[in-house]
């Protein structure tokens, strides 16, 4: 499997080469790649459906348990088939839709990279690897949302999606590491065989929290859902593919994958049901008010994602089966409807449902496709959506959880789903034609064939469900539950309660669609809705963050060198001073004041000339005093057995004085003087720092020192370094690389000095 993923990434990066050859090639080649991958995964169906799993591992960082481990079971195969199958349709569609874009090659590079990342995500057996692919899908999603980067709204939406999903991903990473520490492995397949380990650990609550945040941000659950409607800034094939059929289901995938490892507790069940239900209801209520086709579809996608999360939360085998069927049905009809909204947009020039009317005669094939998709979304027999709705109602009622609130909420949101589907399909296509910005014609072949096939698939899967879906649904639920289930899916269960509820939902939904304006009026008149909006708080948060950054930067970065040094020195005085006085008793400080007269004179000379430098009124005077300090230090080196240092210091000091005089003697006297109180403050800061250092040296020198390094160098200097001057041997032999670095630094400084000097001389000439 690693070859498959590598191949997908490789093909993504080769696309620009083909683009130079022929502008249409990237679209066609990526379609073929997606189709090839679909065939590859379809060919593993017999193995997986017969109850086997395929595992593969290539070492990466084996020492810390991070490897390219892949795991193909029912759940990952279902996702792989959706990714590559819907991918094929979307790529084919996009090859026409994006044909006239200037940067179409770039688009296909992003989209193919996304497909590869998404495949990596669902196939990962290693949690760290899964995290990496999860973040890669966020990054490619960012690039695709911001594809029309010249538009500000695109950039805003792309950044928003990246911040929300990226933050969730990073929090998830903490949970993954915690699992790795507790279980000693990152391998999902190993964790599956030790299910109680995490659940019974005291950190379970925190780990669950990180996983829920990761999944909820990625799968756009309330209150993190707002990035998904904004993401509709992306070109429509992207919305159909990433933001409906595949990427936004990554969070659902993660929850399903972790269900055997983290699930089964009351905390898990209640949090998933709570957030799933709120998302389901809230999003579909918002969808009804929208007028942009894509926004309507986006909110209804958020609602379905809520439904899926809720079903995983309910967690019975009926609920899990309902989740799988709803997921398949939704991926098929929603991708179709998204692609149709793109077709309408490109053929008519608008996506505003209030401006679209009676397209059925102008676009008959698209109309037929839309009707098929709508019927599946309605949940009309014999479409796949019907089975989805039946099993959904069945599992919610059967579970008995939160009765009667949960069934009522599911009923209400299903009614709204009908209304939303009607707004998306019935309103633009039926009735008399209304003039649109462009002359309407039927979509070109590559743009209608894919959606048409997909919508037919919804019908075919519905009719043949018993034969086509039973085994895959059982295989997927086996991965989610971690045991084998044997259940036959049927289209028709007879005239039972669920069937009547289903019929009632459709009827009430259609009535609601007819009179929806009353509802919309009521909702849009309540101003409080703005404060409930999480996107409002997101904007507040981002602008607050910017303000905080500005404030703290202007506080710390004043532009005055003095302030920076004062902050550094105060930190030194407070932290080092505190640590020193806290830990060192004064009785242990025994400075050795024994010294000869000439040592005292030398020290006195240094102190006095330092004072002269500070107090000097002219620069020349200061330069000479500075030279005295340097030469005195050189004499100290002579006295205490460091002739090399003394030689160097003498040479350098002479050069310094010459350089100073050469550059500075022409300048006028000092002009600017600080206020006396300010000088007093500066002296206090400088004096305290100096005092602390003196005390530290007092203390350190009153301790005896046994240096192993000194012994080593003195014994090896001659036998290994072949030199009698130990200091020189260290410089040119033991630490030769350091010396090389030093020479390099000096060389760079010399080049800098030389070039600036030339510049100054040239300026002076002019």
């Amino acid at each position: 499997m690693i070859e498959v993923i590598l191949l997908s990434f490789l093909s993504a990066f080769l696309l620009p080469l083909f683009f130079r050859f022929n502008k249409k090639l990237p679209g066609i080649i990526s379609t073929l790649v997606a189709f090839f991958l679909f065939i590859y995964f379809a060919s593993t169906l017999p193995t997986i459906l017969s109850g086997n799993v395929i595992k593969e591992s290539t070492p990466w960082f084996p020492a810390v348990g991070i490897n390219f481990s892949f795991y193909l079971d029912g759940l990952s195969l279902l996702f792989a088939l959706l990714i590559t199958g819907i991918g094929t349709v979307v790529f084919l569609y996009a090859s026409k839709y994006m044909e006239d874009y200037k940067y179409s090659a770039r688009f296909f590079v992003y989209l193919t990279s996304f497909m590869a990342s998404m495949l990596g995500l669902v196939l990962s057996d290693n949690l760290i690897l899964l995290f990496i692919f999860l973040e890669l899908t966020s990054v490619t999603s960012f690039l695709l949302i911001g594809f029309k980067h010249e538009k500000e709204s695109s950039r805003y939406a792309a950044l928003q999606a990246l911040i929300v999903t990226g933050t969730g991903g990073l929090i998830l990473f903490a949970g993954i590491i915690a699992i790795g520490i507790i279980a000693g492995t990152f391998n999902i397949s190993d964790l599956l065989s030790n299910q109680q380990l995490i659940v019974q650990h005291s950190a379970y609550g925190l780990i669950l929290f990180t996983f829920l945040l990761g999944a909820f941000t990625k799968s756009a659950q309330f209150p993190f859902h707002f990035w998904l409607p904004s993401a509709m800034e992306a070109p429509t094939p992207v919305s159909a593919y990433l933001h409906s059929a595949t990427m936004v289901k990554a969070g659902v995938f993660l929850l399903a994958r972790m269900n055997p490892i983290l699930g089964g507790t009351e905390l898990w069940q209640n949090s998933l049901i709570l957030f799933g239900t709120i998302t389901m209801l809230f999003a579909i209520l918002t969808a009804v008010k929208q007028t942009d086709l894509k926004k309507i579809l986006a909110y209804s996608t958020v609602s379905i994602l809520g439904t899926l999360v809720m079903l995983i939360g309910i967690g019975t085998d009926f609920a899990i089966r309902a989740m799988i069927i709803t997921l398949i049905a939704h991926a098929i009809y929603k991708a179709t409807l998204f692609l149709i909204s793109g077709t309408i947009d490109s053929q008519t020039g608008t996506r505003d449902v209030t401006k679209l009317r009676g397209l059925k005669d102008k676009m008959p094939i698209t109309f037929a496709t839309a009707i098929l998709a709508m019927l599946s979304m309605f949940g009309i027999i014999p479409f796949l959506g019907f089975i989805g709705k039946e099993t959904l109602l069945d599992s919610v009622i059967r579970s008995g959880l939160y009765f009667p609130f949960l069934p009522i909420i599911v009923f209400v949101s299903s009614v709204f789903v009908i209304a939303v589907a009607s707004i998306v399909v019935l309103r633009p296509f039926l009735f008399a034609f209304k003039k649109t910005p462009r002359d309407v014609t039927e979509a070109p072949f590559r743009m209608w064939i894919g959606p048409a096939l997909l919508s037919l698939l919804g019908l075919v899967f519905g009719i043949s469900a018993t034969y086509s879906l039973t085994s895959i649904v059982n295989s997927v639920s086996a991965s989610i539950f971690n045991f084998n289930s044997d259940y036959t899916i049927k289209l028709w269960y007879g005239f039972n309660l669920n069937f009547f509820l289903s019929v009632l939902i459709v009827l009430v939904g259609l009535v609601f669609y007819r009179y929806r304006n009353i509802f919309i009026k009521i909702v849009s008149h309540s101003a409080i809705i703005n404060y409930v909006k999480p996107s409002f708080w997101y904007d507040k948060f981002i602008s607050g963050l910017n303000k905080l950054a500005t404030t703290q930067t202007s506080l710390l970065q004043t532009g005055f060198l003095r302030h920076y040094i004062i902050i550094i020195m105060l930190a030194f005085i407070v932290f080092v001073g505190y640590t020193f006085f806290r830990n060192i008793p004064l009785s242990e400080i025994n400075p050795n004041f024994n010294s000869t007269t000439y040592e005292k004179i030398l020290a006195g000379v240094i102190v006095i000339s330092a004072f002269f430098v500070v107090k000097a009124k002219s620069r020349l005077y200061a330069i000479i005093s500075m030279g005295v300090v340097g030469y005195s230090i050189a004499i100290i080196f002579v006295l205490y057995g460091a002739p090399d240092l003394a030689l160097t210091q003498f040479a350098i000091e002479t050069l310094s004085v010459i350089l100073f005089v050469f550059v500075l003697y022409k300048l006028p006297k000092y002009q600017n003087f600080s206020h006396p109180t300010r000088r007093m403050r500066d002296f206090l800061i400088a004096g305290s720092s100096g005092l602390i250092i003196t005390l530290i040296v007092f203390y350190v020198t009153s301790i005896q020192l046994q240096s192993e390094v000194k012994k080593f160098f003195s014994e090896t200097s001659l036998p290994i370094g072949m030199g009698r001057n130990v200091v020189n041997v260290i410089i040119v032999d033991f630490r030769a690389l350091d010396t090389l670095g030093e020479i390099t630094v000096l060389g760079i400084a010399a080049i800098g000095v030389f070039s600036m000097l030339k510049l100054i001389l040239r300026e002076e000439k002019n």
Binding site: T558, R562, A603, G690, V726, I730
Partner: protein
């Protein structure tokens, strides 16, 4: 003598930090030179001082005979002196160029690049 050196080091640090807090750029450079001297002496003293015994291997011997000055701080300081000179030379020329361009040696008037609007 260590105590005396400790005081000298403290005075050099005081002078260095005080000079770096001044407005004239030349004084800031003097402060930089002071800090270099102070740090060198600090390393030298913390390695302990030994009077008049450089770390040389005498003719006929295979290793240095105790007592002798620790060679490692000396090697470090040797590097530091040279680097310090490089920094100093660069700072002086940079100052000259800045003075040419801006027409002042007041660091308080050279802060526009650091401020945010």
């Amino acid at each position: 003598m260590e105590a005396l050196l400790a005081i000298v080091i403290g005075v050099l640090y005081t002078a260095g930090i005080y000079m770096m807090l001044r407005r004239s750029l030349v004084k800031v450079i003097f402060g930089l030179v002071f800090l270099g001297h102070a740090a060198n002496l600090l390393i030298f003293t913390l390695g302990r001082i030994t009077t008049g015994k450089p770390p040389f291997v005498a003719a006929g011997a295979t290793s240095v005979v105790e007592p002798f000055a620790d060679p490692l701080p000396q090697a470090l300081i040797l590097t530091a002196i040279i680097i310090g000179f490089g920094v100093q030379a660069f700072a002086i020329i940079l100052f000259k160029k800045a003075y040419h361009t801006v027409g002042t040696d007041d660091v308080d008037k050279m802060n526009s690049t650091d401020r945010i609007e």
